[in-house]
Subunit: 227 residues, 2 copies
């Protein structure tokens, strides 16, 4: 063993690559947000998980808040890639819900959404953090809006629902489900909800192109042949 008291930091002159340290800090920040929340994600706690010194947080990121934002960017980036690949080509509501269930389980297992939820709640304490988080949320809302537009297009609901509003609702619901599920560790309510959503999607999907919805005109955007 090395000197007593130090857990796993570097001793002497054995330098490691700075990019590796940055990445480990970001990963540690994500893990800390997931496991001990915003209030517990201190520089010391994060550095301990990254197995480096606490001062490196400030050297590499300037402040804890900036590191947390970097952590949010990283999860957002990774999840955006995953989501994009998963929903590519999906245009039916039913297919979308099926994909959504899979993604949701991933998110829950890995705690991806927890990072976002914790930062949203933590943003109450600092307005600067709030602005940064709001920007990232807007990115997700727009992403969801595009999907909603695709699925809505040609459905009898098109004249009834704004894609932007649907996206807002989906993001809010997803966030809420995450919070509740993470709270008591029981994911069965969420699973049940998704199962029901699947049934409803199948039902609603069967209405598309079929009989009209209670006398509501399917005018305008309900045509096909778009790019």
């Amino acid at each position: 063993m090395a000197k007593a008291g130090s857990t796993s930091q570097l001793q002497g002159s054995e330098r490691r690559d700075p990019e590796g340290t940055r990445r480990r800090l970001v990963a540690a920040a994500i893990a800390a947000l997931r496991e001990v929340g915003f209030a517990g994600a201190s520089a010391r706690e994060i550095a301990r998980r990254a197995e480096c010194n606490q001062a490196l947080v400030f050297y590499h990121f300037g402040s804890v808040a900036d590191l947390l934002v970097a952590a949010l960017d990283e999860t957002s980036r990774v999840r955006m890639e995953r989501y994009s690949a998963a929903v590519a080509g999906v245009t039916t509501l039913e297919g979308l819900v099926t994909v959504g269930i899979g993604i949701f389980r991933e998110d829950l297992d890995a705690g991806h959404v927890t990072v976002l939820a914790e930062l949203i709640a933590g943003a109450s304490t600092s307005p600067e953090l709030g602005a940064a988080v709001a920007e990232r949320i807007e990115t997700w809302r727009r992403f969801t809006e595009e999907i909603a537009r695709r699925v809505l297009d040609g459905s009898p609901f098109a004249p009834l629902l704004e894609p932007g509003e649907v996206a807002f609702a989906v993001v809010a619901l997803y966030l809420g489900i995450e919070l509740l599920t993470h709270l008591d560790g029981d994911r069965r309510p969420a699973e049940g909800l998704f199962a029901t959503a699947g049934r409803m999607a199948a039902l609603l999907g069967s209405l598309s192109g079929g009989p009209d919805l209670g006398g509501v005109p399917t005018s305008g955007r309900a045509e096909e042949g778009s790019p």
Copy 2:
């Protein structure tokens, strides 16, 4: 002015009633959770708002966490009374959404749901707090479930939707909307969503007793005259 340094605390032997102090502390805790979030709701911050000494938090409540739970109980109690009165007698989906919009505006103005949302997020740091918060959420979910059951009863959706699941979704959505709206201070997305919900409710409500929903059998629970 009195002695320098003290903002508004009591000097000498002028005692105030202990119940008043307790109430002021609870009110101050609620305000702190709303305005500076869980991370900012310290004993000192709360005592400052209650215009009393920081030590009284521990004298009256034992710990900060216990005071925060007491604060959650208080908002829950007040809001439960308000909600109960508001939805009394409402049985249609459309009427419910109308009432919901009014309640939602109240909640947003006064930040009632923020208290809950902050504590949910803050619960990540302490398991004991998490259990207490989970209990209160379950109360709200059950309350919502009863309303869902009433509205669902006799509607063509009764065989499709479990009241418990609907309640879970509603609570999650409400929570998510609160978080997002509180984040950037723009309540227009939420207002738009409620407006759309009102239109959808009117549409869906017109289906009740009317034509069936796309060939789905309205069997079992869709009968009236239950206990």
